[in-house]
Symmetry: C2
Subunit: 112 residues, 2 copies
DNA sequence: ATGATATACCTCGCCTGTCAAGGTATTATT
DNA sequence: AATAATACCTTGACAGGCGAGGTATATCAT
């Protein structure tokens, strides 16, 4: 099942931060990783992705730099900041809480 | 931890439908139930709730009727339609997929 | 050479769900 | 008379997602 982004709205920043803690990366690569890790179930639309980078950088959660010139198109790399790490920790807690809340609200309850 | 609605955006309809399959209910009651079932971690803002009812009814997922006159303020009751049931089944599947995808993307991986 | 495909980045403007703020009305409590 | 709880509703602003468009480099097939 392919997921719509409306369902994951608000989780975009957390997903990006989580990919970046594994090491600096760039837009195209991050998106490919996301698609692979979800078995093709999810991927960002480009506009969403670059909008998110801009937002994250403006909020001081990531920093960016141009990759060294090599063959192929230029790449802008992103790195998580300390604030980004802290935010990710919060987001992870929030996600656990989201699961708890949603399961309490929409799951099947045989006994109820 | 109190959850912001931005995190649950897109899940509002599913949450409401899930409450209604247990029996017809009205706005105020549904919201109280949601707050109770989540231990106070989540509740709809009124504007969100009534906007959602309108949307759900326009999409044929619920129907509404005024409760019989009794003491206290009038109540508008809502009932799930067949289409609403089908939609909820989809939403539940989608939620399971969401959990899988999010866990794959943001969880701690000791071994990775 | 020419076109297609993959890589790689970016912006503009629309759409949609959330919600602060405002409103109405009934009943019970202080 | 005032306050709180119950119960409903609308308007306008805001923010994130994204369709559509643009730019540029490199590879591969025709």
């Amino acid at each position: 099942m392919a997921l719509s982004a409306d369902i994951l709205r608000g989780h975009t920043d957390a997903i990006i931060l989580a990919q970046l803690v594994a090491g600096d990366s760039y837009g195209y690569q991050i998106n490919k990783t996301v698609t692979e890790r979800t078995g093709g179930a999810y991927g960002f639309k480009e506009a969403t992705l670059y909008t998110a980078f801009k937002r994250l950088e403006q909020n001081g959660l990531i920093t960016s730099y141009w990759g060294e010139d090599g063959p192929g198109a230029r790449r802008r790399y992103y790195a998580v900041t300390e604030a980004g790490m802290a935010k990710l920790a919060e987001d992870r807690q929030e996600w656990n809480e989201t699961k708890r809340v949603m399961d309490a609200l929409i799951s099947w309850k045989e006994g109820l």
